[in-house]
């Protein structure tokens, strides 16, 4: 029954594309025609020790991918396909897989363990593979089991535990599995490969072991075994044991107290003396504890319930020894850590952990760190200076302004001088520290800033010098300029301070973006992002002329990208990145200048040229749509208003492509938003394009492929379209309204314990209401009666939402508004539908008492509409 497929599996890995494609086609056909036979053949291939490792490996991967996928809908299909296969095939496949666990070829047994776990995830919860656990455990208990089999069995057990819930097995089985794993980890296990496999299996089984962690005796034993493993002779076992501790820090924070003394000793010794791979995990343990405590602190707001785990203050209790330990790590920098990506060393991990500690314990960290900073910042050795600077920069987020400002005020000048340090690491970290200072200590909108009219000029001189330094330093300087500018956003008159320097800042940032000595595009995009922020924060009346001159400069840069010679896909990617940055800048300029009536004409004059540029950018790609250009078009449509009509014919093709881009869902989402912009710009003139747009939007809504986050904006977009085209929305009602009703029913079924889903449900509710509002307002003058049959469903939905205690304020607003829209459009017809108006009264009452003026205003309006609907006769 199984076919010989070795040659195809080998050919499918050939460097020759033709051979590869043929083999893939042949395998695909086999799969199509006879899935059970195909899977069986793969399992035979995987299990045969006589076959080449390469074909076995691919057989395993294909088998695994036939059972599982990242995307939920695809995964569901795969599972159904497996379930539908004849049981005799399935048993054969499973037997081949279990046999493979004993293979001496580790690659084969490792893959088999993964596939076994995938099948277990389907069958164990349904009790369709009852003998699995017993078979695996017998591998562990039989005295003559070969090491290979034990390793693979432990691996399989670990993966299975990760896939299933402990409730899928009876407690005895759960205990037996954990006993097998823990025994494999124990010091008494002679074979270090088995011990390593067991330790890694435990890592995967930690969630599964919840019942056992709840039991103090069992927990003590598990923790002891892990701590012992953290002292094993083999570095891999020590590392795996620390990985278990890191995971326990977040999974079982609340039970850690009795073990913290021991864990502190272990981590502290590891950081001081162990190999870096182990030391990194030891530091990570503390970072995870910080994450947990910050999480608890964030959720400690009075309104949230008491479901949070208690705060054990581990960081604060360990502070006096933890901080010196972390400070020591800062001195262990690599020579080239700033230039190379992908490096992660002890100094970086320690510095990051120190930053988290500062956030967690706030002011308490300062006296422990400042002596280190002061002692090292002027040392002749660069490592000392860099470590001191990094320590200083790390603790800026957390402690209070009162605590920090004297030090930062005193240290700012030192930092500015240090931008001239002879060592590039020191300069890099100094620039980063400056960006942190501006991010955290420069808040002119709230009246506090370390930047003053007296030192601003010097700061800007130092920063523009820094832009000419090595690319990695210049990139950090861009960050500093970004945050310096960010402070002036919404800061009122304070933003005038930076006005005189704008021309120089713009030209140095553009010069930085043009540098060719950087190996990647990071510096360029950082420079443009800083430029964006400077434009956003600038005081428009004072700077409109400067921004006006920036516009053609950026436009001509974008034009140059269109004519770039493209030979490779790498060229294409670079072109796309550059266009992304420049479209971003244009978007920001368009938004800035169109925000005031007297500068808007600048954009209107340039609109034709800008639009041609964007269309050319779109034309650089055949199948995808440039996300940033799409974003910028939305801003342009908003600025031009009805004049946008003349671009529609050309632009519509691109818009269609964007609306169909399921894979890059961000592009799809932005395109949906742009439809809204265009609706408001064109009003009824969008009508000729609506058939197409509505078709795509309806398809998007029904697609299981499209990321769900795009769906609420689509409903809102229905409202935008309906409001723009008024009664002409009639022909879409039969398609759109059932979708809205379906989605509102979905809202009612959302699991209120899943925070993400609750969030999503709120977005969905709000957007469904917005859709109804647009349609009702659009119809009210001519076609209001069309909504009569749908009104009861909507009323029910409003009532349901009104009675939901957890409803979000934005949902309330939308609900109250749509209630008024319903009354406005249907008038006295509404009277017959509202049988029990208590919920209306309650909802309105709640809103009228709200502190939110907008909400009150809407509620007052709705009250008026309802009053009118109920007072008018007939």
């Amino acid at each position: 029954m199984a076919l010989e497929i070795t040659q195809y599996l080998l050919a499918a890995q050939s460097p020759d594309a033709k051979i590869r494609n043929e083999a893939e086609t042949a395998l695909g056909q086999f799969r199509e025609q006879n899935l059970p036979g195909f899977l069986l053949s793969l399992s035979v291939e995987l299990s045969s020790d006589g076959k080449p490792t390469e074909s076995r490996r691919l057989a395993g991967i294909v088998l695994k991918n036939s059972l599982d996928a990242k995307e939920a809908a695809t995964k569901g299909n795969l599972v159904q396909q497996w379930v539908a296969i004849d049981i005799s095939f399935k048993s054969q496949i499973k037997n081949f897989l279990l046999n493979t666990l004993g293979s001496s070829v580790r690659e084969a047994s490792h893959t088999a363990a993964q596939v076994v776990a995938k099948i277990a995830s389907i069958e164990v919860p349904k009790k369709e593979w009852p003998e699995l656990v017993r078979l695996l455990l017998s591998n562990m208990t039989q005295p003559d089991t070969p090491v290979f089999l034990k390793q693979a069995t432990l691996e399989a057990l670990g993966y299975i535990c990760e896939e299933i819930s402990d409730e899928d097995l009876v407690q005895d089985e759960v205990n037996a599995v954990l006993t097998a794993v823990i025994q494999g980890m124990n010091v008494s296990e002679q074979n270090s490969d088995v011990r390593l496999a067991a330790t890694r299996a435990l890592y995967n089984a930690l969630d599964f072991a919840r019942t056992n962690f709840d039991n103090e005796m069992e927990r003590n034993y598990i923790m002891k075994v892990i701590c012992d493993a953290a002292l094993a002779n083999e570095i891999e076992i020590r590392k795996a044991a620390f990985e278990c501790l890191v995971s326990i820090a977040s999974t079982y924070y609340e039970i850690l107290e009795p073990y913290m003394q021991k864990i502190f000793e272990l981590t502290s010794n590891a950081v001081k003396a162990d190999e870096e791979a182990v030391a990194l995990q030891a530091v990570e343990f503390w970072s995870s504890i910080c994450d947990e405590e910050l999480d608890i602190q964030d959720n400690e707001l009075p309104e949230s319930g008491n479901s949070n785990p208690p705060h054990s203050q581990f960081i604060q209790k360990a502070l006096s020894t933890l901080v010196p330990m972390l400070l020591e790590t800062l001195l262990k920098q690599d020579e080239d850590q700033d230039q190379e990506d992908g490096i992660w060393n002890l100094a970086m991990a320690g510095g990051t952990c120190l930053g988290l500690v500062a956030k967690a314990v706030r002011d308490l960290v300062v006296p422990l760190v400042m002596p280190f900073v002061e002692a090292n910042i002027s040392m002749s050795d660069w490592r000392s200076r860099e470590a001191a600077t990094f320590a200083f920069g790390s603790i800026l987020d957390g402690p209070s302004m009162e605590k920090l400002s004297p030090m930062v005020n005193a240290g700012l000048d030192f930092m500015l001088n240090a931008m001239k340090d002879e060592n590039s690491h020191v300069k890099d970290t100094t620039a980063w520290t400056l960006s942190r200072i501006f991010e955290l200590m420069h808040l002119p909108a709230s009246g506090f800033s370390v930047v003053t009219p007296a030192n601003l000029q010097r700061i800007l001189v130092v920063l523009s010098e820094g832009l000419k330094d090595a690319p990695h330093i210049a990139e950090k300087v861009c960050g500093a300029i970004y945050f310096l500018a960010l402070g002036y956003e919404d800061a009122g008159p304070a933003s005038s301070l930076i006005t005189p320097f704008l021309p120089d800042i713009f030209s140095s940032l553009i010069a930085t973006a043009e540098r060719t000595d950087s190996s990647d595009s990071k510096l360029r995009s950082s420079a443009y992002e800083a430029l964006n922020q400077v434009v956003r924060c600038s005081n428009l009346p004072e700077t409109s002329q400067i921004i006006y001159r920036l516009l053609p400069a950026i436009m001509s840069k974008l034009e140059q990208t269109i004519n770039l010679q493209i030979v490779s896909s790498d060229d294409r990617e670079k072109q796309g990145d550059l266009q992304a940055s420049l479209c971003g800048v244009l978007q920001v300029i368009i938004q800035k200048l169109s925000s005031a009536e007297d500068t808007k004409p600048i954009i209107l004059q340039a609109a034709d040229q800008i639009m041609v540029l964007f269309l050319n950018v779109f034309a650089c790609r055949s199948s995808t749509v440039h996300e940033e250009a799409m974003l910028a078009i939305g801003a342009l449509a908003y600025a031009t208003g009805p004049d946008f009509e003349k671009y529609m014919q050309e632009f519509y093709k691109v818009l269609e492509m964007g609306l169909q881009n399921f894979e890059e869902y961000q592009v799809c989402a932005i395109s949906v938003g742009v439809v809204g912009d265009i609706c408001r710009a064109l009003d009824a003139k969008i009508l000729p394009y609506c058939d197409g747009i509505m078709t795509h939007l309806l398809k998007d809504l029904s697609s299981s492929e499209l990321d769900r986050s795009v769906k609420p904006p689509i409903f809102s977009c229905f409202g935008d379209i309906a409001l723009a085209i008024g009664e002409h929305f009639e022909k879409y009602v039969t398609y759109a309204v059932p979708m809205m009703q379906g989605a509102s029913e979905l809202c009612a079924r959302i699991d209120s314990n899943d925070e993400d889903m609750v969030d999503y449900g709120n977005q969905l509710r709000r957007s469904i209401f917005e859709a109804y509002s647009g349609i009702l307002q659009g119809f009210k003058n001519a076609k209001a009666e069309l909504m009569l049959p749908h009104a009861p469903h909507l009323l029910q939905f409003i009532e349901l939402v009104a009675k939901d205690q957890q409803r979000d304020e934005t949902v309330t607003k939308a609900a109250v508004a749509v209630l008024g829209d319903l009354a406005d459009a249907l008038g006295s017809n509404l009277k017959m539908m509202i049988k029990d108006s208590a919920f209306c009264t309650e909802l309105l009452g709640e809103c009228l008492e709200s502190g939110d003026d907008q909400l009150k205003e809407t509620a007052t309006w709705t009250q008026g509409m309802i009053g009118r609907a109920f007072s008018v006769c007939g």
Partner: protein, 388 residues
């Protein structure tokens, strides 16, 4: 399956400008959606959305405004009684004159009318510029009381834009008597004169002028800035010019503009009036027949270069209105000059009297409430009499 890489962001500022650009776009879209829906909703109380229109820069100052006229000298249209549909396309002075005549001008309430609670409606008047909104021939124009163009824009009114309502007859039109409320760029309809050629009832939130209704209009929250109360007589139909069937009343609690301001926006020490110079030198109010406040001699007329039909501004000396049998007999006036060119009308008698009373012995809300109260008693006793 394998433990995650412990690598964390390092020396990376925690921002994504791209995400920020997306977020700002989303915020803009959400804000614009709210605005669009809000404007659509204002159509209910009222009328239509005003798209950003550069035709006029509305003067921030109330009442004594001097809007930028879009005056295009065109051949004056002689026929005064032409169809309203043609009126919308009028330009310049003719258009101003025509529109100026069409507005129903409320009288000021100087006495409480009888049967307030049974024959009158009351509503809270929005602060803003009184204007006419006419949609016709695919365009909507709004004109101030003096006939000056306020805005020209497409609207959702019948035939109010070139593209919408295309299935409607080209002959349809709509006229609304509105107040343009600057803050939310919204027209609040005081009255609908015509809708697609059919007269319709008003749509502002109006109350029966009983105790509750009056209190609701006086103190109840509204989405716009209040400027006094409007009283409509239930038996009135729309008529142009001054009418005692619509009355306006205000006090400090429901209006920021009780006392008139001068051209600089200040409240002058002495009350000012604008009167029309008749051919015999008499100074007349807007009313028909006019109330005469005094007479200018020909020397004075020559010296000031005043011409018949011109409007002149005077101040009234303190306490210097003299009455006999409830009629104005004489007024002590001081000539101040010529009012703003944009002024189309003299003051009405009721306005002068309301302003005069406001400075001396204002008509208070208590008086209105008391009047309703007493007429309630009257009605009860009338009923009782009849039963008896």
């Amino acid at each position: 399956m394998a433990p995650p890489d412990p690598r964390r962001p390092f020396k990376r500022p925690a921002f994504s400008d791209q995400q920020k650009r997306r977020d700002i776009s989303l915020q803009r879209q959400a804000q614009n959606r709210r605005d669009a829906q809000h404007q659509a909703r204002c159509l209910a109380l009222t009328t239509m959305s005003l798209q950003n229109d550069s035709a006029a820069t509305p003067d921030p100052q109330y009442e004594h405004s001097d809007p930028d006229f879009e005056i295009e000298p065109e051949a004056a249209v002689k026929d005064r009684d032409f169809d309203v549909r043609e009126a919308a396309s009028l330009r310049g002075r003719e258009a101003r004159r025509w529109f100026a005549k069409q507005l129903m001008l409320p009288e000021w309430m100087i006495d409480v009318p009888d049967r307030l609670n049974s024959d009158w409606y009351v509503c809270a008047r929005p602060a803003g510029k009184r204007c006419f909104v006419v949609s016709s021939n695919g365009v909507t124009v709004s004109r101030l009381r003096n006939g000056g163009l306020l805005h020209r824009f497409p609207s959702a009114l019948p035939n109010g834009a070139r593209s919408n309502n295309s299935n409607r007859s080209g002959q349809s039109y709509c006229i609304l008597d509105c107040i343009f409320h600057e803050a939310d760029q919204t027209y609040y309809v005081i009255d609908m004169v015509c809708w697609a050629g059919m007269s319709m009832f008003r749509t502002l939130v109006v109350y029966n002028c009983d105790q509750e209704g009056l209190k609701a209009a006086y103190t109840g929250p509204v989405s716009y800035l209040k400027d006094g109360l409007l009283f409509y007589n239930k038996h009135a139909h729309y008529e142009s010019g001054n009418t005692p069937l619509v009355l306006v009343w205000k006090d400090e609690n429901c209006s920021q503009y009780v006392l008139d301001t001068d051209s600089k926006g200040h409240i002058p020490d002495q009350q000012q009036v604008v009167l029309e110079l008749l051919d015999d030198g008499r100074l007349a109010t807007l009313d028909d027949p006019p109330v005469i406040f005094g007479c200018l001699d020909s020397d004075f007329i020559q010296k000031t270069g005043s011409q018949t039909g011109e409007l002149l501004r005077f101040s009234i000396n303190e306490g210097a209105l003299y009455f006999k049998d409830g009629q104005l007999e004489r007024a002590d006036l001081n000539y101040l000059g010529k009012p703003n060119r944009a002024r189309a009308f003299a003051d009405s008698y009721s306005k002068v009297m309301f302003q005069y009373a406001a400075r001396h012995s204002p008509l208070r809300i208590e008086h209105l409430l008391a009047s309703i109260e007493s007429s309630n008693h009257q009605e009860t006793s009338t009923d009782a009499d009849m039963l008896g």
